[in-house]
Symmetry: C5
Subunit: 97 residues, 5 copies
Amino acid sequence: MIIARVIGSAVSTAKCERLRARKLLIVQEATARNELVDKAPFVAVDAAGAGEGELVLVSLGSGGRYTELTDQAPVDAAIVGILDSLEIGGANTFEKH
Amino acid sequence: MIIARVIGSAVSTAKCERLRARKLLIVQEATARNELVDKAPFVAVDAAGAGEGELVLVSLGSGGRYTELTDQAPVDAAIVGILDSLEIGGANTFEKH
Amino acid sequence: MIIARVIGSAVSTAKCERLRARKLLIVQEATARNELVDKAPFVAVDAAGAGEGELVLVSLGSGGRYTELTDQAPVDAAIVGILDSLEIGGANTFEKH
Amino acid sequence: MIIARVIGSAVSTAKCERLRARKLLIVQEATARNELVDKAPFVAVDAAGAGEGELVLVSLGSGGRYTELTDQAPVDAAIVGILDSLEIGGANTFEKH
Amino acid sequence: MIIARVIGSAVSTAKCERLRARKLLIVQEATARNELVDKAPFVAVDAAGAGEGELVLVSLGSGGRYTELTDQAPVDAAIVGILDSLEIGGANTFEKH
C-alpha cells in the first residue's frame, strides 16, 4: 500500500451505479515523513473514514476492491487505513496529532 | 481512479468481439486543476456517457471491467464517472460548466 | 488500452503450453499521431489479426486475457483491436491507409 | 517480485477489518547489491516473518494476496520471502549475515 | 510480456509455502537488441527452464500465475518463454546462439 495524504475531495454525479454514495477523496503519494511526492494526485474511495490532511494507506489495483464499500465496484484505489505513526530506523518519522 | 480529460475518440473495426459497439475515447491524465499531465494519451471505454473536453474518472486495470459495458471485455481502462467539481484545501480547483 | 505500433515479432520455442501457437508481436507505445514513445518495446499476443506497421490497441494486465486466444494463458498484454483512425479536437491525428 | 529492504514499520488503528493484526512494514525497493533505489518507500504486509534491515521479496498487486495472512485482504503488497543471498554472473552480490 | 535477460539467481529459505522448490531468477528488462534497460532487476519464478544469460519473456502481474508452477502462488512475475529470435522491420535484432 502506498503512503498518501488526503488533500481534497471529488464530486461526480454521473457515475457508475456501484460508485453511488461512495466518498471520493483526492490523495497524493507521500513519503514516510509526510512530504508530498511529485506525482499527479488521484481519486480513491474512502473505506476507512479518512479526512482531509490525514496520512493514509491506499491499496491500489484489485486490492482496492477487498473492502465492504468497494466490493465489485469499478475501483482501482481505496483508502484502507488511517496512519497513526510511521517509524524508520527506530525513530518516528510521522505521528498523527 | 485517475483524473483525466477526454481529448478525442478512436475507431477500430477489427477488434475483439466483446469490444463491439463500445465507445472508445482518447483520454489523457490531468491534474486536479484540469491541466494535462505530460503522459501519452490512451484509450478508455466510456461507461459514463462522457463527451470530449470533460474531466472524468478513469478506473485502470481490472477495476475498469466492473461496469455493465465492460464486464468480461479485454479492457484495462474505463471511464466510470464524469467529474462535477474537485476541491483541494477548501477551494474549488475545478468546476464543470 | 494503450495505443501502440506493431514493430516486429518474436519467436520462442520453449514456452508455457498455453502460449503454444500464439502469434507474439513486438509492440511499442505510440502517440495519437503514430509517433513512437520512448519506452522499451514489449511482446503482446495478437488477438486481432494485426500486422507489422499497424497502429493497434493493446490491453495490458489481466485485461489481456479476456480474448479467446489468451484466456487462461500467462499473458499480460494482448492486441485487442486494429486502429482505423484517431481523432483529437475534431481533427484526424491518424488514419489507416 | 521486487527486491526490497525493510526500513521501518507503520501503525494504523482505524483500518479495514481484514487488515487487523497484520504486521505492516515499510519497505523500499533495492538493487541486487542491497542499495536502496530512489523511489518512495511503501507499506507491505509481512507474510514471511521479516525484520527491519532485512532484504526481502515483495510480491506486488494481486500476487500479494496469495498468502494465508493476506487472502481476501485489501492488500497490494506482501513480503513473501526473506532473501539469504543473491548471485549475479557467478558472484554473490548479497549475503545475509 | 516484457523482454528480459536472466542475470542471476536468488536464494530464500524463509518464504511462503507456495514458493517452495521454485527456481527464483534475477531478471532485468532488455531491449529487442538484448541491451539491458536502466531499471532495477527483479525476481521472477522460472516456468520455462531458463538459464543465466538467456533472453526471456516475463509475464508480469496476475499473468505470471497462469503456469503450472505458479498457480495460486504469491507471484507477480514469471518467465513464460525463452526467446529464440526477435525481428524488427524484417531484420533480426536478436538470435539465440
